[in-house]
């Protein structure tokens, strides 16, 4: 009893996910309701019997959270698997599906957050800001168009690729190649984020040692630091924040408050000075 999902049902499922994955987010269930809404059209098409429907929907009440853009692929895979289950394939059951969802959501979140949100968006925004120098709306419009085309069609591609491959996609994603790909993307992400920070973040000191005699600065600390390593201060601050959060388990909010204190003290002792006046 081979069953095949209609284009229409798949399209509805995809769009439910595309729009609704985060609309009813809570810290407890995160994207679970988005997932349920994405599966609903499929389940309704595949099963006539109310009990079967309930059994199927029940599968997707399990906790779910991942990076939503890339995560489309997981929704697509489960679409394929649900179809297989409805067609009576024995080896696909609730456990398989939820094991897979649980196994994929972590890695995909990691890749997605650093690749999509940490790399693609900053690059697009970087280009767009260049175009908007001087206050032109060009850059913003560019970003709106390019990003949304990329996100929409990218997610669509992911969803349908996942659907097509079904279980096979999993082998790839958690197999050796998937792991290698994750490593590769992490390297790429690391480099780009370094470049992003050196391009867009700029921590500078205003400390100067002034010669008592001539009244001229004989040490401009910022220049000294840049001679050692361009962008040193920025990099040190970033690593410091990383250290607090990763090694000292501080929350981002606490780190920010600490930075306020540092800024205050820094201004007091003359280390920082934005150099403004009416």
């Amino acid at each position: 009893m081979e069953k095949k999902l209609s284009k229409k049902a798949l399209s509805k499922s995809f769009h439910n996910w595309y729009y609704g994955h985060l609309t009813c987010f809570s810290q407890e269930h995160m994207q679970t309701f988005g997932y349920l809404c994405a599966m609903l059209p499929l389940v309704e098409e595949l099963y006539d019997n109310e009990d079967d429907k309930a059994k199927a929907m029940n599968t997707y009440t399990a906790f779910f959270n991942t990076e939503p853009q890339l995560g489309s692929v997981i929704v697509g895979i489960t679409a394929g698997l649900e179809e297989a289950r409805a067609s009576g394939q024995d080896d696909v059951d609730e456990e398989t599906i939820n094991g897979l969802r649980a196994g994929l959501m972590g890695p995909i979140a990691g890749i997605g957050d650093s690749l999509v949100v940490g790399t693609v968006i900053p690059i697009l925004l970087g280009i767009a800001m260049g175009m908007s120098t001087g206050g032109s709306p060009l850059g913003a419009i560019f970003y709106i168009i390019v990003w949304n085309l990329f996100a929409y069609f990218g997610m669509k591609f992911m969803y349908f690729k996942g659907y097509e491959l079904g279980g096979k996609a999993v082998d790839f994603l958690i197999g050796a190649q998937g792991e290698a790909l994750r490593d590769a993307i992490t390297t790429l992400g690391g480099i780009v984020i370094g470049a992003v920070s050196a391009t867009w973040v700029s921590v500078k000191t205003s400390l100067e040692l002034i010669s008592a005699e001539t009244g001229e600065a004989y040490v401009v600390l910022q220049d000294q630091l840049d001679a050692v390593f361009p962008g040193l201060l920025t990099t040190l601050f970033i690593i410091f924040c990383w250290f607090l959060m990763a090694k000292k388990q501080m929350s981002p909010i606490k780190v920010m408050l600490l930075l306020v204190v540092i800024a205050f003290v820094g201004v007091l002792v003359g280390f920082f000075d934005p150099g403004l006046a009416y």
Binding site: V117, I127, S136, A263, F264, L276
Partner: protein, 278 residues
């Protein structure tokens, strides 16, 4: 600068759409409308000064260019940044008589944005908490097999959360805006300690965003090297982000091959094909 009721309402609506979690869906909402660059354009359109809007948006965008929210860890709330911070900053600029294109203007905008953005995280937690109520309704519906109701839960009811946590705060803050700004202006002179600190904080905060990303990427000490390499590319070699991404790509390929070799070194055969698939 006075913000009218109708303007404030429009801004409040944008806040509902663009937050994380928000009613725009993450692609169109959070990642498009929520980005300060786009927010600048939108605020500019609403408030009738696109150029200033974009300039302020650009300034704030720099701070949040690498804003990721892994697993709902939110260090700054974009609804507050883009639809409270930008309007207030625009008001402040006109009140201080500063031009948004000057570096003073940029710094003022950045400081306003980050202040508001950080405080705004409370709005994020509020929204997510209220959503728990709707999710409760959702679970009931699942139990009773009233699946159609899930759409209401996922895409309808959260509007109430946003009425409370996005719309009203935005409208109030924007209406009060001019007064708030006026208050700040008299209390905090430009060259005073408070303002200097605020400006300095503005330049330090982006470090937190980058550090959150780094936390995901850096598992062992050597993982810092790609990040530092990225810094070198941008800061020492002065190349732009797209070029840096190409270089990162060189290393990503190598990393991919290395990891794949490591993972498959005891399994013969299939790897030549594997390579093709990347």
């Amino acid at each position: 600068m006075e913000i009218s009721w109708i303007q404030a309402i429009l801004l409040g609506l944008c806040a509902c759409l663009s937050s994380m979690p928000g009613m725009g869906g993450s692609s169109i909402g959070n990642y498009t409308l929520g980005r300060p660059l786009v927010g600048g354009l939108v605020c500019g359109l609403i408030l009738g000064d696109i150029t200033t809007g974009i300039l302020v948006g650009c300034a704030m965008q720099v701070v949040y260019i690498a804003l990721v929210t892994p697993g709902g860890t939110v260090s700054a709330d974009v609804r507050a940044v883009s639809y409270i911070g930008i309007p207030l900053a625009m008001a402040a600029l006109s009140s201080y008589g500063l031009d948004a294109a000057t570096s003073e203007g940029t710094a003022l905008a950045t400081s306003f944005g980050t202040m508001v953005g950080t405080l705004g995280t409370v709005l994020f937690y509020g929204t997510a908490t209220i959503n728990l109520v709707w999710q409760h309704i959702g679970w009931k519906a699942v139990e009773k097999r009233q699946y159609k109701k899930l759409y209401l839960v996922d895409m309808g009811l959260p509007w109430i959360s946003h009425l409370i946590c996005s719309f009203i705060p935005t409208v109030i803050m924007c209406k009060l805006g001019a007064d708030v700004v006026e208050m700040i202006k008299t209390a905090l002179p430009m060259d005073g300690l408070a303002m200097k600190t605020l400006f300095t904080v503005g330049s330090l905060l982006p470090c937190v965003g980058i550090a959150i990303l780094l936390k995901q990427i850096v598992k062992k000490m050597t993982d810092f090297i790609p990040f530092l390499f990225g810094v070198v590319l941008a800061a020492s070699m002065g190349i732009n982000l797209v070029s840096a991404t190409v270089i990162a790509g060189m290393f990503a390929i190598i990393t991919y091959k290395l990891k794949l070799l490591l993972l498959t070194k005891n399994s013969g055969g299939a790897d030549d094909d594997d390579e093709e698939e990347i």
